[in-house]
Amino acid sequence: MKLRAWLIFCAVILACSFAWAAEKGVIPERIVSLSPVITEELFLLGAGDRVVGRTHYCTKPREAQKIEEVGNVLEVSVEKIVALRPDLVLAGSMTSPKAKEKLKRLGLRVEEFPSASDFNGICDSFFKLGRIIGKEKEAETMVKIARSKVDALRSQVRDGNRPAVFLQVGVDPLVTMTHGSFLNDLIEFSGGVNVARDAGSRIYSREKVIADDPDIIIISGMGSDGEKANEKEKKIWQGYRNLKAVKNSTIYVVDSDLYCAPTPLTFVNALENIIRLLHPHDAA
């Protein structure tokens, strides 16, 4: 009788510890990342050596370029991913829904990271990534640092003037970022006012920009648009001589990698950068 009770006790303890281990999760050792930002964040968190697959556009940091490619951001080869025997696949917002579903059905662990809609979202998703790969503490520390830096930067510009800003992220068609994008946060944190904040669609009209007459125009063409297209776009704006931004020569072309790939730390860098553009006199 005593023996039986003892056995049951052992069984319960064993079961509990298994449940606890399952809850805690096994730390993934072979990770495939299908989003450039996530790849960058994995390296930031010191888990770069565990990444076994990446997309063609995961080029930051430089070490990432040695990792095997499994596709571009839009089209990925499910077969290639499976062949890499990953224990974790990290999917971004652009990953094909069919590919995600297929990978899940093949029994792989797929974690999805929808694109962040504000700075908090960037931090949350970074934190979630840290938790999944067993780098919770590191993620927490970095988020804390990023948050305090952002707070410091925000208080710096709190009492400054509030210039109207038009941020252009796509050249043809004219795409901007409205309320519900981290880029809107970027403008507001830097003490600016996003003229397109409440526009219904991200595709904006040139006429509307001219009517808004922003103090500053920032051009950050994404991806393949390239530097040339951005400079050309700047020339086009300079043709409208009556714009305030033209008169004061406050049209800036910025590094789209810095603005459009938001880890918490690059967000801080981008914020520093945009504050310099918006408040040149304070910085000097």
């Binding site: 095997e68 571009n72 080869s77 077969e79 094909s96 069919k98 059905r105």
Partner: protein
């Protein structure tokens, strides 16, 4: 003469079956993960679990089956429509059915339904296709007479309307949804759901079987509606049934695999040139050839710039289109 013809048909059928086996082999044996052939034979012979097993049975085989089903369905639909309309430019996507499916899928993406279940996308596509069939039929059937001319014109117009609607959706949608719609329009054989693949395969075989009963009616219709009527073909009933069959074929294929162009236009043309105009052989030959063509194209799409994957429509368009132009110009040159 009769003897000669049936011998020729049997020859073509065997050739197509051999090509189908070749296509299946290439689809199973070639892929970006580079599994050695010996290993593949072992895995095919007896399933042993492991990564190779998963890749062959879980990824390459379903894709191969879906390729045959979709390629077969689309070119079967193409043959029937071209025969019925007596117009070589008609293809499965001409009649606006694919447009209807595309609008259905885009709406379901825009409304965020696919977050609930990924199955809502094919379902919405199929519903879109079905409502378009009803609309087309309602517009063009007067006093039990289905006007083919009207069907063609309204179909083309509806397709234009549908593509404008999709552009509107694209302009209004958020960037994540944008990806979803574009993916779907590009078409893909990478279907995760095994059940849908079975439906596509089952439907294509079933409709091949059913349309085979119409082979002599189709032959008669090729002479013209009036002539067919004189030959004792129940023209209206046949047209109606064939219209519904092709619509369902296209509806199912488009709902499962998205828009994969050129198969339904080019393959029936080629087959007509090769095996002749008799629908007894043409239906089966086109079905087989469509499957073979799409599976070959998909194998290319998966491997040509591996590990990057191309949308299969890119390959069908470039390969099918240029092959077709080449054959046409060569033939004309020969005549001169």
């Amino acid at each position: 003469m009769m003897q000669h013809r049936s011998k020729r048909w049997i020859f073509w059928l065997w050739l197509l079956v051999a090509l189908a086996l070749l296509a299946a082999g290439s689809a199973l044996f070639i892929g970006p993960s580079g599994i050695p052939f010996k290993k593949i034979f072992q895995v095919l012979w007896n399933r042993q679990g492991g990564i190779e097993d998963q890749i062959i049975w879980g990824i390459r085989l379903p894709r191969l089956l879906l390729g045959f089903a979709i390629g077969g369905s689309l070119s079967l639909a193409g043959v029937i429509l071209q025969g019925m309309f007596r117009n070589p430019l008609v293809e499965p996507y001409t009649l606006g059915i694919s447009g209807g499916a595309a609008v259905g899928v885009s709406l379901s993406i825009l409304l965020g339904l696919y977050h609930v279940s990924i199955l809502t996308m094919p379902l919405a596509g199929f519903l879109g296709a079905c409502s378009m069939i009803l609309l087309l039929y309602g517009l063009n059937a007067k006093k039990k007479v289905l006007s083919l001319q009207g069907l063609l014109l309204t179909g083309v117009m509806i397709n234009f309307i549908a593509s404008s609607l999709i552009m509107l959706f694209l302009a209004l949608s958020r960037s994540e949804d944008l990806q979803g719609i574009i993916f779907w329009i590009m078409g893909s054989l990478d279907e995760p759901n095994g059940f849908l693949i079975k439906i596509a395969l089952g439907a294509s075989l079933l409709f091949l079987f059913v349309t085979y009963f119409f082979h002599s009616d189709l032959n008669a219709l090729a002479l013209g509606e009036e002539e067919a009527l004189h030959l004792g073909v129940p023209v209206e009933r046949t047209k109606r049934l064939l219209f519904i069959i092709t619509s369902l074929l296209v509806g199912v294929s488009v709902a499962v695999a998205g828009m994969i162009g050129f198969v339904g236009l080019v393959v029936p043309h080629f087959m007509r040139r090769i095996v002749g105009h008799d629908h007894r052989i043409l239906l089966v030959a086109s079905f087989l050839a469509g499957g073979v063509f799409l599976v070959f194209c998909d194998t290319l799409a998966r491997t040509v710039i591996a590990p990057l994957e191309l949308p299969v429509g890119v390959i069908t368009g470039i390969l099918g289109g240029s092959l077709f132009v080449w054959v046409l110009t060569r033939e004309r040159g020969g005549k001169v």
